[in-house]
Amino acid sequence: MHPSIPFFLAPIVLAIAGPRLRRVLQIAVPLAAFFLLRATAPLGAGRSEIILSFMGYGFIPIRMDALALLFAYTFIIFGLLANIYGLHATDRRTPVASNIYIGSSIGAVLAGDLVTLFIFWEIMALSSALLIWNKDRAASVGAMFRYLLVHLTGGLFFFSGILIKLIAKEAMTFEALGWSTASQLIFIGFAVNAAIPPLHAWLSDAYPEGTPTGSLYLSCFTTKVAVYAFARGFAGSEILIWLGAFAAVYGVIFALMENDTRRLLAYHIICQVGYMLCGIGIGSAIGVNAGTGHAIGNILFKGLLFMATGAIIEATGKSKLSELGGLASRMPLVFSFYMVGTLAISGAPLLNGYITKGLLLKSAAEAHMGWLELLLLLVAVGTFLSIGCKLAYFAFFGKPCDVKIKPVPANSHVAMAATSILCFSIGIFPNTFIPLLPFPQHGGFYDAAHVIHNLQLLLGTYLGFLFIRQYLHTEDTLTLDTDWFYRRASELFIKGICFPIHFTQLLVQQAWTLSIALLHTHISEKFLPQRMTPLSYPLLWMTTAFAIAGFTLLILKFS
């Protein structure tokens, strides 16, 4: 039985269930899916697949191998953590949409053929769009429609690729896809979901708009499914290294500029996906291990950061750094969990980011790409600077904000604590996690040089921040990004097209009015009642009657 089934069945009950049943289901559904998957394929099991034949094509709705299972298990575990985080929420839409979203994400990573993948891909787009809709933020509706617009366009590229393959009678199995026209179209479809700049603006536009729980789900699934798809279909494509490096730098620069807490983190998703794509683009066993391992790690620490910022937003009602400050003493637990996430994403020793970032640097070194290694170090500096220094300082220290703080629910604390424990356990015991990666991998992560280099990098960055901290101010501004092209430039474009039409219309209208007016003046001057003689009227009528008669005769003659 497909492990997504509990996630697809639950919404039917969740839509009508009362709060207590809803809470029970939120815990029970991921557990049921976990045991279902475990019964079919334990983590680390060999490859197995189910093949169905339909209209002469062989479809593989379920294919389980190390790569797919690693993502499927992580999605289920993170789904459970996110459900626990949002147990106190009262709205029905989030649980309904999130269950379908998690189910379709698992379906997508287990899909063995392109058609199945595409179907789950589109269900993901539709269900995740519902999570953006947030009644507390008027801007969220617009963001949701823009999100849908971009994702359905990306889906069309993916679909065109599939159609070309179908027409050419190529196999539909989802393995390494090569670089044909069809594959290139599919690549664009994947790139939209992976938020590779310049196709990324949907992410930074939409993710900060959802409810705290809604955005938590969003931060995890869509981009990671795309990373999985790249690892499966395009591992070793050199273009991914370039795109990944560009995404990493782009994301980190925009994060440094950002004022909204969750938008800052959203830019870091783009940056971290760039890291993963670099590993996948290198394509060696260690590169793919690093890319996928970092995706799994990222789900945990980025989820933790979204949980902590979500807790701040729920407690204070504010999301902008310029409106926050001094929260460390008022929300000490949230601050601690936030710092765990920060240190993990920055690659501090004892946390999971250290392991996967270390693998990534190693894969770049083994591929003799010194420039990439240096670039990834630079991006790590920017990452710690924006999340660990800037966001942490302005939200938790700095000028204290004058807001009333609502208590953070216990279930949210439990979810944050559990995620922190997972981050630590992978960091401290990497040998429990490393064997789960798709390719065999040797250990040896804690050599003295690597540890001290990481500490130096973090200390140097923090020291630099301390020096320039007094010159930094948060400003309540909006940063232009590539969504400008479909939010503003498209409007100008439509105006540009409409202007000649409007102008011509206006010209014709004016000419018509003018000629009528002229005619009117001309006629009325001649036929002014006071100028009319007694004979004028009969003459006018007779002329008109003759004209009509002559015209009728002419028509009759020539018809």
Partner: protein, 85 residues
């Protein structure tokens, strides 16, 4: 009293960080001997510390300048007259 205390704290923090920073560089010089440096920057002791310090200051200054002179707009930039976004 409290203001003097709050002013003292950042200085104390900064001194601690500077001390740790120097320690980390010294630790590398004294105890770490890279056996297989394949890039020039791996032979420079304390390179990572300086990279963090210099690249950090430059990147945040550059990002802020990019925002200030080119990319920052008012938060109402995309809003239509009716208040719709």
């Amino acid at each position: 009293m409290s203001s003097a205390h709050s002013k003292k704290q950042p200085v104390k923090l900064r001194n601690t960080v500077i001390a740790l920073f120097v320690l980390a560089i010294l630790g590398e010089i004294l105890f770490i001997h890279p056996h297989d440096p394949h890039e020039w920057w791996q032979r420079v002791p304390g390179f990572h510390a300086l990279l963090g310090l210099i690249a950090g200051v430059i990147s945040i200054t550059a990002a802020k300048a990019l925002g200030k002179y080119i990319l920052y707009r008012k938060v109402t930039y995309y809003e239509k007259p009716g208040g719709k976004v």
